[in-house]
């Protein structure tokens, strides 16, 4: 399988008030196309820094990071913005949808920053992405007219719309109740089955059982990197849940 992410002994240091904080201390790992990786760790383990680095929002102090074959470390702000636009789909904990905008407008947002897409092509892609996450009947709903689960689906559609090399989710189920979380995980598993590469950063250990691989961080290093031979089905978990009270 094609290499999507290659981290080569990366480290990241922050200078806070004269002290040097080592957020990442020499991380090496390889993620291939079609993997569903959960990155876990307690707070302070370097999870967020790794997420920002993988998302090209930040660059490592040392070491090399190749995203889909492109070296990111020495890229400037603008080059990384374009790289993010083409290769990465972000899903955030608190959705980050534009207020007062409808689902289609939110989903086509990444394509606005890619001049290769015409207005009609943007619309088309946005509708496709929303259909893929099961919101074909909610195209014109504004973000404040939707539930948390629906908003997160819109956010996932927005992450899919540019056909990214990797979908990067940061605590994507953190704001949702367990049922809705399960539904979102079903969606991620389906995307995984379709061959998408997904990296899911979380502190919730339960999520790991639904992914194909689990990386555990501790003090800026990889403590363990295990393949999950027995992937749980989120759909089964949902079916086993007691029915909603109302």
């Amino acid at each position: 399988m094609k290499e999507i992410i290659r981290l080569d002994n990366i480290s990241r240091e922050f200078h806070v008030g004269g002290e040097v904080v080592h957020a990442l201390r020499g991380l090496t790992c390889l993620i291939r196309e079609g993997e569903f990786v959960t990155i876990m760790g307690s707070s302070g383990s370097g999870k967020s820094t790794l997420h920002n680095t993988l998302g090209c929002l930040d660059t490592p102090t040392n070491g090399e990071y190749y995203l889909d074959g492109v070296s990111v470390r020495k890229m400037g702000r603008n080059a990384r913005a374009t790289l993010r636009n083409r290769k990465i789909g972000f899903v955030f904990q608190c959705y980050n949808l534009l207020p007062k905008s409808n689902a289609v407008e939110n989903v086509e947002l990444p394509l606005l920053y890619n001049s290769a897409f015409s207005a009609a092509a943007r619309r088309q892609k946005a509708i496709e992405a929303l259909t893929a996450v099961g919101l074909a009947d909610r195209l014109r709903h504004k973000s404040n007219q939707m539930s948390g689960g629906q908003m997160q689906r819109v956010a996932i559609a927005r992450a899919l719309v540019n056909d990214p090399a990797v979908i990067l989710a940061d605590e994507a189920t953190g704001n949702l109740d367990s049922r809705t979380s399960c539904e979102i995980l079903i969606l991620f598993q389906r995307l995984h089955l379709q061959g998408r590469t997904i990296i899911f950063v979380t502190h919730n250990p339960e999520i790991a059982q639904y992914s194909s691989r689990n990386i555990l961080l501790r003090d800026g290093r990889i403590q363990s990197d295990t393949l999950n031979s027995h992937v749980h089905s989120a759909a089964e978990t949902l079916a086993a849940m007691p029915p909603p009270e109302d």
Binding site: N52, G55, L57, D58, R77, N78, A81, T82, R84, N85, R86, F90, F92, N96, L98, P99, K100, S101, E105, L109, P110, L112, Y113, N114, S115, A119, R158, N162
Partner: protein, 406 residues
């Protein structure tokens, strides 16, 4: 990011905050409307004064006896009698930059026709005077050189006198009015001219041969003044220096002596008044300009609030691929759109206000194309200038911090 997308984003953002956008715009609307209407009022008053002065004869030159007032001290009575008929004759003979000259002597008093009487001023002039002052005859004829030579008791009267002395509407030409017991035969009437720029009624005057006024009314040998007209308004200054040279040599003044006469031209008076009006226009314009500035600061304030409020949105846009310059352009365009829309509405309102002043209040206000262009320029500049700093702040945000902003 291409331009249409940029417009779409900026318009959407403005549409999301209509009330706020409108209130911000209001500052610019009021600013531009007041700049345009104030400049229109200034220019309109200037135009109307210019017009009235040119009706009076903008190429008119007035020579008066006596030098300038020195330190506010009135000069002796004899110094007011320095202009004599030979001075006028010399000017008429020698000056090349004038095409007409008339001596003037004036006397005030009651004009009487039977039971009617009216106080007015009798101007002793020659046959050139009507042309110099841009008067024209309504009826009858101007007196001739023979009548001047013989000091004939004839006169031309203005419309105010026609109205006051002949209230029955009968034709005054051929009738006789008395002035200081002297009967004057009315040989003509003047066309109405209305009030001049100083508010003086130009129809309330009587013209008679200067010789008549000098000899029969006032019994003087000097003149009260000489009125001349330059060939063209532009030649006024040359005509003045020419007349000055003629008078100095006639009066045998040494080079060290001060002039014993004063020459002023209408052109000079007009430009003095223009300067006054310009100052007034600048004053009005700058007060209005300050309101435009305040409007601009309003934009800056709102854009600042907007950037802070939308920090997460900026973070999101950056994380999904917006470059710094996309964010900069987005916020800059928002502020330019606010100020430009405000500018357009303000220009329309300003024009409307000027039209209202002209048609309803009766002031003369003429909207200057340059003031519209100026306000538009100022608006765009305001948008860029006051939008730049907040937009710069937005574009300089770090996406990681911006996404985490609470």
């Amino acid at each position: 990011m291409n331009i249409p997308n940029l417009f779409k984003i900026a318009l959407k953002a403005l549409a999301n905050n209509k009330m706020r956008g409108f209130l911000t715009m209001l500052g610019i609307i009021i600013g531009v409307a007041s700049v345009i209407s104030m400049l229109a009022i200034g220019q309109g008053s200037k135009d109307s004064i210019r017009e009235q002065i040119s009706e009076m004869g903008s190429n008119m030159i007035m020579v008066q006896p006596g030098g300038d007032m020195r330190f506010g001290a009135r000069q002796s009575a004899s110094s007011m009698e320095t202009l004599k008929l030979p001075d006028f004759e010399a000017i008429r003979r020698e000056a090349r930059y004038i095409n007409g000259a008339s001596p003037t002597v004036t006397a005030s008093g009651q004009f009487i026709n039977g039971a009617q009487n009216h106080p007015s001023t009798l101007y002793g002039v020659n046959e050139d005077y009507l042309r110099i002052r841009h008067f024209s005859l309504d009826n009858g004829a101007m007196f001739s050189e023979q009548e001047i030579a013989s000091a004939a008791k004839v006169c031309i009267i203005g419309q105010t006198l026609v109205r006051e002395l002949f209230p029955d509407g009968s034709d005054p030409v051929g009738r006789v009015v008395r002035f200081q017991k002297i009967p004057f035969l009315i040989i003509g009437t003047l066309k109405s001219k209305g009030a001049n720029a100083m508010g003086m009624d130009q129809d309330d005057m009587v013209f008679a041969p200067y010789s008549t006024v000098q000899k029969r009314v006032l019994a003087i040998t000097h003149l009260h003044g000489i009125t001349a007209s330059a060939i063209k308004e532009e030649y006024s200054e040359r005509a003045i220096s020419e007349i000055s040279a003629i008078l100095r040599s006639n009066h045998r003044l040494k080079p060290t002596d001060d002039d014993d006469f004063t020459i002023r031209s209408m052109e000079e008076i007009a430009s003095t008044m223009s300067t006054v009006m310009d100052t007034l226009t600048i004053l009005l314009g700058s007060v209005a300009g300050i309101s435009l500035l305040v409007g601009g600061i309003g934009i800056m304030n709102i854009m600042y609030v907007s950037v802070t409020e939308r920090t997460r949105e900026i973070g999101l846009r950056m994380s999904i691929g917006a470059k710094s310059r996309d964010i900069l352009a987005q916020f800059l365009l928002e502020s330019i759109l606010i100020s430009l829309t405000g500018g357009i509405i303000g220009a329309l309102l300003g024009g409307l206000f000027a039209a209202l002043l002209t048609n309803v209040v009766g002031l003369t206000a003429s909207v200057q194309p340059w003031s519209v262009i100026l306000s538009f320029g100022v608006c765009t500049l305001t948008g860029v200038f006051f939008g730049w700093y907040p937009a710069r702040k937005a574009s300089g945000l770090d996406p990681i911090d911006a996404l985490r902003y609470e």
